[in-house]
């Protein structure tokens, strides 16, 4: 339990650092950020006086309390789940985020699960059948692992998307058909959600699977050289068992490094949502940035950070469950 508690401590500290940075930055950056923001806003022509006021409030401008008091108040608000008011949507940030989150989490969970399972499976297969045609997956996977998510999204829209120019198979805009169906527990709505999730999910899966493939292949090759795999073969165990033995051990470093993987997937998905106008937090982050809705930007940043930290904690728990050596330490 100790190791897990320690990890939890690190994550709490990380959350504190992230939130403090997002609080401090606008207040300590040299120059007048409000003026800069207003200048940019008026340049883009979508900031009215309400907007300027909101920016000022958000950035602590014209607020005549000390930085420390603002900071205490900031934490007080966070503690109550109060992330402020979005001027552009005229709603509380927390309620907005709650409405965005299911889209993002749904896509993220499904896509990550699929790419993790598919990626490790293909990686295992490649290590197992080294020297076969599967070796060709390696350069292809390398190429895909280097492809930016949003570029892949653009290509998929072009080829398969209804808003593209070629096959026009799958819907490629919004989270559901906003003109054709009414939200609620009805068949057409659910079917529409699934249809609209296909391309974004495929994008995330395609782009993130490659990384899991490469990592798993390398670990698997290294693990298969271990003596215990040789012993498993000497024991006359069926090939499938031997592979399972090696794979279980090879999986450990992949899970241990899930921290990096999940950060990258989340980052990628933010951009994918933007390309597809998918109504998750990534798209709304982009939207809020354009509208200079700093409350919303900050709120979304907080939530993404917490989601990633929670995913990390989950990965740590899984690691402790699958590695008895870590269990002893824990």
């Amino acid at each position: 339990m100790r190791a897990l508690l320690r990890r939890l401590g690190v994550y709490l500290l990380a959350a504190w650092v992230a939130l403090t940075v997002s609080f401090l930055l606008p207040r300590v950056v040299p120059g007048n950020p409000v003026a800069g923001a207003v200048a940019r806003a008026s340049q883009s022509g979508n900031c009215n006086s309400q907007c300027v006021e909101a920016i000022e409030a958000q950035l602590g401008f014209n607020v005549h309390t000390s930085l420390w008091d603002q900071y205490v108040q900031y934490w007080g608000n966070l503690g109550h789940g109060n992330l402020g008011q979005s001027w552009s949507e005229n709603a509380s940030v927390s309620s907005l985020i709650i409405s965005y989150l299911p889209w993002t989490l749904g896509l993220l969970l499904i896509a990550t699960a699929v790419s993790f399972i598919a990626g490790t499976a293909v990686g295992v297969l490649m290590a197992w059948r080294r020297g076969s045609w599967l070796d060709w997956v390696l350069p292809v996977a390398t190429f895909f692992s280097a492809l930016p998510y949003f570029f892949l999204a653009l290509v998929l829209v072009l080829i398969l998307g209804k808003t593209g120019t070629m096959l026009k198979v799958f819907p490629s805009l919004f989270g559901y058909d906003i003109y054709g169906v009414t939200p609620g527990l009805n068949g057409p709505y659910i079917a529409s959600i699934i249809g609209h999730a296909i391309l974004p999910a495929v994008t995330v899966v395609l782009a993130s699977t490659a990384g899991f493939i490469l990592a798993m292949r390398n670990n698997m090759i290294t693990t298969m050289d271990e003596d215990f795999v040789l012993v498993a073969q000497a024991k006359g165990l069926p090939a499938k068992w031997v592979i399972w033995y090696a794979a279980r051990n090879a999986l450990l470093p992949v899970v241990a490094n899930f921290t990096v993987a999940i950060s990258l997937v989340v980052a990628g998905q933010i951009l994918v949502e933007i390309v597809f106008n998918y109504p998750g937090i990534g798209f709304h982050l982009y939207d809020a940035l354009g509208k200079l809705d700093y409350s919303l930007v900050q709120g979304i940043f907080v939530v993404i950070t917490l989601v990633v930290l929670a995913a990390n904690l989950l990965a740590d728990v899984v690691y402790v469950l699958i590695d008895p050596r870590a269990r002893q330490m824990a």
């Binding site: 197992w128 003596d227 930007v297 050596r325």
Partner: protein
């Protein structure tokens, strides 16, 4: 941009002498010359070149609008005079042409010129960010790893916190609040570096930590070397491959991050004030914002995207090369069908079944004569016969001939010792017999016959040609009839499952009739036989001491009452007392079960006590074979003679001993003739030219491969001592019992 291969490969610290790894470390970093690395280098050089000269070869300014070629408006289909709708127009980007190699944007700007300008900014920002991040991670990682203690705790905590914070969202917030960031390469690069350094820092720390405790660092400290010099001169050069890999990985992430924030419009637009830089992300943003995808203007948005992917691939490929340098296991290629055909391997190569070249199945009818023709006086029945076995590592001309033309007969109930220095091929020979050698091993010639008479269970009986046996046949024989105990028991047990589960899988496969409770009871009884508590079934390997693990391994080996036990240095890693206990237990089990033992060790003094017969290997060949007492008291081979004189006696007066001169042979570059001749004090001219074959010595049940014992030469008196008068009694009842079971 996802996880790069290096990032997830945990680099195993180099433990002990791993000749393979050490051999390759000619220089600090030498990339293997594979197509992957070359392709990666070519891509990197290409982009580097474009980044440098792009400014001069660009035909236009990236911001200039081409008034001359600009087709200002295009009629929207379905509007205009004939349709009754008022004419409606939109600007149309031009497709690639001679004037514009990559066409134009919707603003009539030249895409090729933009791409060149963008390449420069993107590459510079990527490299700069990677450089800053690498410096940061080296500073943090190496300092934390080297200093250890509180400094390590603190610095690692900082790195872990940064690692946990999702990079891109933090980057977005940072970039958003620092509005001028987009216009400054240094600022953008610094912000990116802050969000990417932590991962490599963690890797470097772990590596430094393992280097810090390496003996060469300790040696420098004992020498009185200063701390800074130790870090810079002793530790850091060893980290170069990892720093290089980190740099490439960070460059990859940095480019991804830069492009991403530019795509979000946070890196400053070239048209805003202060003007941002043209980069690939900015090009994609403009294209995306202006419906380039829906308009089908692929020439606008595809090139920057492909550039990112291509440069990323180049970096990743290069990283592969470094990975393979750091971890040579990744380099050994699998056996492809083509190579297999070339090497003459008929069957499809399978994991865990060493391939065999050109192997005509042995006519089992002829087997009896083989056994009868055996020249050994001992008449016990053979159980494992190895004839003319050769094993190569590698499939082409550069293959190392690890075992050449070896004959060995193991008899029921017998302990056959196989002695030799490390690298002499003794393990290879033994594992080849059950085809357990891994790629790139290839059994290139010979026969292995297993005369099976199962002691218990329903394993296959009769003579089996191991080299043409099918997978199923081999699996049925393995462990059930021929069990193996390896040297390092820590690695021989699966670390993530309990000892009990590792007994259980065995019994489940080979004794399917046993119920689960019966399997558990049997496993407990087996542990009890080697002096362990049955509770240990619930333990994980790491919870046991080295001696306990080896005991558990032996208990596992006897679980199915095998006919043959291959023991590969089973006690070398253990202390003498534990070693003695385990050996005594093994002999007791042998007496009880009656298995034949192939005992592999470098410790000839141990074998003399333990074995009935000893075979000595040198440079992949069997050089002498004799009953243990004969070999000890009257060695015939100069090498055996010298080896026996390498063990100081435990009794009598202390006399200076010479040992063996010279070094063990390099298997890649063996001397011609007898491989031992450079170290042999009696070497004849003939020894330098002709390889001696193992041949019987007249009138004795022993064989030797040495020209000194051929007619026409005088045998040195040291090698002509009389045979010991009486052979040590060797538990005759055991042999009989084994033969009769």
């Amino acid at each position: 941009m996802t996880i790069n291969s290096t990032s997830l490969t945990v680099i195993p610290p180099v433990a002990g002498p791993t000749p393979e790894l050490v051999l390759r470390r000619t220089r600090i970093l030498r990339l293997p010359r594979s197509p992957k690395v070359i392709a990666g280098l070519v891509i990197l050089v290409l982009f580097g070149l474009l980044a440098i000269i792009g400014r001069w070869i660009a035909p236009y300014s990236p911001n200039a609008t081409d008034q001359q070629h600009w087709v200002q408006h295009v009629l929207v289909p379905g509007t205009g005079a004939a349709t009754g709708f008022p004419a409606s127009y939109y600007p149309l980007p031009l497709p690639p042409s001679a004037a514009h190699w990559l066409g134009t944007t919707v603003f009539a700007q030249d895409v090729w010129s933009q791409l060149l300008a963008a390449t420069q900014a993107t590459v510079v920002v990527g490299l700069l960010a990677a450089a800053i991040a690498t410096v940061l991670s080296v500073l943090f990682g190496v300092t934390a790893g080297y200093l250890g203690g509180g400094a390590d705790e603190g610095l690692s905590l900082i790195a872990n916190v940064f690692l946990a914070i999702p990079g891109l969202p933090l980057l977005i917030v940072l970039a958003d609040y620092v509005p001028s960031a987009g216009s400054s390469v240094v600022l953008v690069a610094s912000i990116i570096a802050v969000t990417t350094w932590a991962y490599t820092s963690r890797t470097l720390r772990a590596q430094t930590l393992s280097l810090r405790n390496r003996d060469f660092v300790e040696a420098s400290r004992v020498m009185g070397e200063g701390r800074l010099r130790i870090i810079l001169v002793e530790v850091l050069p060893n980290l170069v491959p990892i720093v290089a890999a980190s740099f490439l990985f960070t460059a990859l992430s940095a480019i991804g991050a830069y492009v991403a924030i530019a795509f979000l419009g946070l890196a400053g637009s070239p048209t805003s004030s202060p003007p941002g830089l043209w980069n690939w992300g900015e090009m994609l943003r403009e294209g995306f914002a202006n419906n380039a995808v829906r308009g089908g203007w692929w020439w606008w948005w595809a090139p920057p995207g492909l550039c990112i992917a291509l440069l990323g691939t180049g970096l990743a490929l290069l990283n592969f090369g470094i990975d393979e340098f750091i971890n040579p296991r990744l380099r050994t290629a699998g056996l492809s069908r083509k190579t297999a055909r070339k090497a003459g391997i008929g069957t499809r190569p399978k994991l865990g079944m060493t391939p065999v070249a050109h192997h005509p199945p042995v006519a089992v009818a002829s087997v009896r004569t083989v056994a009868e023709a055996s020249r050994l006086r001992d008449t016990a029945e053979p159980v494992l016969e190895i004839r003319g076995l050769s094993v190569d590592y590698g499939y082409d001309e550069e293959a190392v001939h690890a075992v050449v033309d070896c004959d060995l007969v193991l008899r029921r109930g017998q302990v056959l010792g196989l002695a030799g220095e490390s690298g002499s091929g003794k393990t290879t020979l033994a594992l080849a017999a059950i085809r357990l050698l891994r790629a790139p091993a290839l059994i290139s010639a010979g026969q292995v016959l297993f005369h099976s008479k199962p002691i218990s269970g329903d394993g296959p009986a009769g003579t089996i040609d191991m080299l043409s046996a099918t997978d199923d046949q081999l699996r049925a024989i393995r462990w059930s009839e021929i069990a193996v105990v390896l040297q390092s028991s820590l690695n021989a047990l699966n670390p993530v499952i309990t000892i009990g589960a590792q007994f259980d899988d065995l019994l489940r496969v080979h004794r399917p009739a046993l119920a689960e409770s019966a399997r558990w009871a049997r496993s407990g009884a087996l542990l009890d036989m080697v002096g362990m508590n049955a509770d240990r079934l619930r333990s994980y390997p790491h919870e046991l001491s080295g001696g306990m693990r080896q005991r558990a391994m032996i208990a596992m080996a006897i679980a199915l009452e095998p006919q043959v036990m291959i023991l590969d240095e089973p006690t070398t890693a253990l202390d003498v007392v534990t070693q003695r206990e385990i050996l005594q237990e093994l002999i007791g089990l042998r007496d009880r079960i009656g298995f034949a033992t192939l005992f592999i060790t470098h410790d000839l003094s141990l074998l003399v006590e333990l074995a009935d017969e000893i075979a000595v290997m040198y440079a992949g060949r069997l050089m002498e074979r004799a009953p243990a007492t004969s070999l000890f008291h009257a060695p015939r081979l100069p090498y055996t003679y010298a080896l026996l004189h390498c063990f100081p006696p435990m009794h009598g007066p202390r006399v200076p001993m010479e040992g063996l001169k010279g070094s063990p042979p390099d298997m890649r570059d063996l001397p011609p003739g007898c491989a031992f001749h450079p170290r042999c004090q009696w070497a004849l001219p003939r020894c330098r030219q002709e390889v001696p074959r193992l041949a019987p010595l007249n009138g004795s049940p022993r064989e030797v491969a040495c020209w000194l014992h051929r007619e026409g030469t005088t045998v040195p008196p040291e090698l002509a001592q009389p045979e010991p008068a009486s052979m040590r009694p060797r538990r005759p009842e055991t042999v009989g019992q084994a033969g009769g079971t």
